[in-house]
Amino acid sequence: MATISQIQGSGLGLKRELIPQIQSLYGQQPLANINFVEIAPENWISAGSKATKQLDWIVERYPVVCHGLCLSLGGLSPLNVAFLQQVKTFLHQYQIPIYTEHLSYCTDGFKGEQGYLYDLLPIPFTEEAVHYVAQRIRQTQDILGQRIGVENASFYVAAPISEMSELEFINAVITEADCLLHLDINNIYVNSVNFGFDPHAFLHGIPGDRIIYSHMAGHYEQTPNLLVDTHGENVIDPVWALLEDAYQLFGTFPTLLERDNNIPPLLEIMHEINKIAAYQDKVERRFIASEQLAAMD
């Protein structure tokens, strides 16, 4: 049971295999920096009685946010309204205040059905695509009765038909849809390597006032100029530097660690969550110090 104001500080992307460790260490100092957890509704909707019991346990103890995988905001098939209604019921049932989705697509309308491909595919950055995606975000927000956040996705193929940069596309969609930004710091870095741009300059161009919360994660280096967003490695230094830069630019915002593959023991994951908390602390203290300095003038 949570409200938006309770989503704060550092958090964890919840994986089912981590739940037994969370249960045995709950309330103890090593887990102190898990202030909220994130779940994918696709993994918990009608997942059976064992999963329901686990989710009940989590929701009673942690503020929860939802980060969807398969809404297919840029998809070719009509928005899956029946599924969205299930998400709405789920959000209400567990009092989950935030729902975000990816700025990508996973359906192609094959044979007149949805045609799910279950992956995050890149939307070409065109004017028409901006209007199309923004309209679907608005439709989603109308059905849910709340604003959603959209996440900047990682990708590997640049569409030759794109008419604008990723940054322009994100800004245009967010403005037209009047939605929030779910900022993925690692995705900025992955794309900056894959497509050769300056990730810090990118960060300076995002609408900071729209950030609802953010993701940190590791990736896999397939070749020096191709990074794959696996969430299966530790976060690398340049991504930590980006996070610090983002906090410095926009003030701190809730941030969680995603670890979806090659999952180490929870206490090892906690090192990175603690590091997020430490960066937040550092930047907040810096702000306070500069305000005190200003007050002394």
């Binding site: 993994n43 840029g74 595919l121 590997y156 193929v157």
Partner: protein, 253 residues
Amino acid sequence: MTTELPGFQRYQLAFTARLRDPHNQPSLAGVSGKRMAVYEEIVFNNLFESVSACFPVASKVLGKRKWLKLNQAFIRDYSASSPLFRKIPEQFLQFLNNTDPELQALLPPYLNSLCHYEWIELFVASSPDSAKPNDIEPEGDLGNSKPVFAPTMQLLNYDYAVHKISPQHKPKQPESTQLLVFLSADDQVKFIQLNPVTYRLISLLQNAPLTSIQALTLVAKELQHPQPESIIEFGLSILEDLQSQGVIIGTHY
């Protein structure tokens, strides 16, 4: 029809066509094949892993090469309609049940039954936590009332002994097989093999407004059994056993 689509959607269609069938669909103009291969691999591997995890026996029985080809056909030909990853195996089953005769001819005749048997475990494990009906008597008179079965119970009737299939034991001929599967009170999926009479008894009790003794009398009649009492006695002891295992959760009224 595709010419009516905006440019970005025509591009998306070409993109996903290539993901569905990388071996036959053209590569995209102006797109690096190496980069495209990243998507071709992750989309295929993701689905392949979800499907393979649910069908460990079927995949081994079929062998690596055929299993791979079958999964490639699944992605190429099937349009998945559920956004839930958990339902990928169920969609694979639907694909199997609707494959074209040409592909079907390459597959063993027991494959669909085997896959159904492997999938039902996942299905029962993710059944909702259905509340017990209010109007049941946990310790009621089994013989003179209608037993209530666990809401997760599924009765299964296969043409092959699916539970015995392995790479070392591939059935050469059909063998009518009846099973019951349910989720126990401690959330474990349990299978019980049934004889045809018990299978018939449970189907009757599920579908007709009969008490156990009435259903057993009917079964004895269907069997033209000379001593219906022995069938009733035998049947009641089986129902008691099912009650002790948690398949029967009580009786009506």
